[in-house]
Amino acid sequence: MLDGEPRVITTGAAVLAEALDDQAVPRLGVDWRPPLPGTSAALAKVLADPRRERANEVAVGRLLSARPALVGVRPAREVLDLPPRTFFHAGPPIDWERASGPMRGALIGAALFEGLAGDAEEAERLLLSGSVRLDSCHHHRTVGPMAGVVSPSMWMFEVVDGEHGSTAYCSLNEGLGKVLRYGAYGPEVVERLRWMGDVLGPVLAGALAVSGPIDLRSLIAQALQMGDELHNRNRAATSLLVREIAPAIVDASPEHAASVLRFINGNDHFFLNAGMAAGKVSADAARDVPGSSLVVAMARNGTDFGVQVSGLGDRWFTGPAGVPDGLYLGAYGPDDANPDIGDSTITETSGLGGFAMAAAPAIVRFVGGDVSDAIAATRSMYEITLAEHPAYQIPGLGFRGTPTGIDVALVARTGQLPIVNTGIAGRVAGTGQVGAGLVSPPAEAFTSALAALADT
């Protein structure tokens, strides 16, 4: 306790820190600032919880030790609790009334795709009538990018955690532009979904049967070292996936191999959905540890931004979804943007995306234009996370593990909100993607979770 040369951490008054400097005592100063307003009582209670330290250790340990592998591609109706006339969607639960343009557009598209309506007007009436049941993907071991609408006939990536044995699902990525997940529902959208159900899904399923499971943990680790952050940049990961699976696609379905490979190659984000299922299965492993303040889901439905916390079961804590600050496609601008939407924040939840910006210098302009900004973004996330990922490493930071495992208590203490990279959907149903950028979650989602944790 009293041995050794003193080395001091100073938190607070500068005059006391300077007094140590005058004595030439080695020290590190903390850039302390007051916590988010109104959180100090809840913070004191949560930090005093004798379960907290161990609970967080257990929860984040499970998140870090998950070994996600892509094992199959299967129709949603076969693997999910998804009877006819039921759709899942991204983010916390929402009904048609409160749904934003792109969410409505995607639901309309899914109704058309499932043959529940002959045209958009009929689909809208159907959805307004409430005869299609809606539920959050996250309630069903599933995640979906952007609107994240999953209907029974869609095909899903099936990812298994080899460490803890659980399974998670995510739909197949449709590509960019006018696509269902961005709220587009035109004939080309539905037609592409049909091709994905008739050809892409079955071909990938056959290929995975030939290739065997694909280790996503190691694939993600490699992609990070090749300049992806696995949310807004998936170019390396998609390339690696193609390398892994292309021979098996040719073996399994020579007649469709060219069209399937061409489709995957034409979409840098093809891997995103597999990566999201990997994030989901890893974060789910950390759920339900009593006393843990670890965030196990961040998700947006285009209206609300919600979080779930390990020690608080399946409860959602929400705030209004913000409009991303980003760069726009073509002639689109901020006025065309919908508030933040999608389950793809599961990447940030599991230590990737905005948290791994320093790994992705190719897209640093999303964070203000500069490699140093990307490094600062990642560094700032170490302040609100419980651990550094042992496999997901950033070469430019000396192979330091990515900041992983958001702690609501640390968010409240530092006022540092998670940095989220995201695509931007058009505000009007049917528009599609208008841009990509960064978004800041609402602080109240984290502070209300903290308050609830203080009451457990």
Partner: protein, 453 residues
Amino acid sequence: MEVRAGLYHDSVSLMRISQALGGRPGVTVAVVAMATELNLGLARDVHFEIPPAGPTDLLIAIRAESGAALQDAAEELDRQFAALARGGGRGGPAAESAPRTTRSAARAFDATVALVSVPGEYAFAEAMDAIDAGLSVMIFSDNVPVEQEVLLKDRAKERGVLVMGPDCGTAVVGGAGLGFANVLRPGPVGVVAASGTGAQHVTCLLDHAGVGVSHVLGVGGRDLSSAVGGRSTLVALAALDADPATELIVLVSKPPAPEVAEIVDRAVEGLSTPVVTALLGPGRDHLTSAAERAVSALGVPVPQWPCWTVPQPVGSELSGLYSGGTLCAEARIIAGTGTFTDFGDDEYTQGRAHPMIDPSMRLEALARASGVVLLDVVLGHGAEPDPSFRLAPAVRAARDRGTAVVVALVGTDSDPQGLLRQAEALVVAGASVFTSNAAAAGHAASLIGSGAL
């Protein structure tokens, strides 16, 4: 409308350029993008006629209200491309930024102790971080709820670390002075103190006697209350007992709650290192007698405590203007009369610094005082860099209007302010200066002409 064949930029850079151009006056639409099917479609949607182009070509489509605006946009485009080619930006990895929590600092820095001085409402989180990281922590902050103090001390015991404080003004750990700390010679005495200025006073007197310290461990003013039960005192005693450099332990405190006194007595009996227990209060020890007992216990002769007196007028009333709480209480007991104010008390420190850092309030009181004024000056790291600079003129002014001034000067000559330099300045200004607070209080009382004598 223009197509530049074979020119590639990443889509993000191009979106930025589109945005910059679109925001210029007179420009209605600007699309600068690689000519992929998607982007060609987007350009057609806003009614551009697209010449043949493929995904490896750069598409530039700008519509403006006038030829001049279009020309201006074209020039801006060239500037943007030139900036891209230069690589732009400040470049280089971002400098490591300071940690935002004690937790994060403990991960980045191989520390032995943390010093927490944030407002009391927030101190718990930072102190808990230190304990969780296996570090002893000194909590300088006051106004920390007692339940939090107990929790911190229980968690610290589990982790085998020490909590000094809350409201701990001074500590010396391994030679490093934390908080308000005097520069003391190293030596055999380990001090456990529930009072900051009390510990400073005892250790400075030891220093005058040529006796040095191993460690000075503050435990916080409430540690020996029945609510806290001496949790840190027990840990500190055990730590000093285990410390090979400590030959004598001095425990300085107000009398503890009876049940706590029993626990502490039992712990003291179990130590292999001799302990001098000095309990402060009427009819008990004062800080000077505590120092004298410690010096004697080491077999060192008790010296004359240095003092420098000048003739003072006699007054009819005594005002004690103190910055140290324990020093103030002790002086009140010894003088047995007068009005005493502790400017370090919470009611005077709301929204301002401690009087050992900012003496303004006390100087104002001195300017109004008459009769005999007794005050303390505490030196050391963290305290005012040169207290006599403002105090000496105030002393001279007081003397000029017939007020007596007696100073208890707590410090060593190795302190940054220099004990002798401060004493000289104050004496020249007309103050009588004592290094023993008890002696100063006794002298001040003797100057009250009527009554006491």
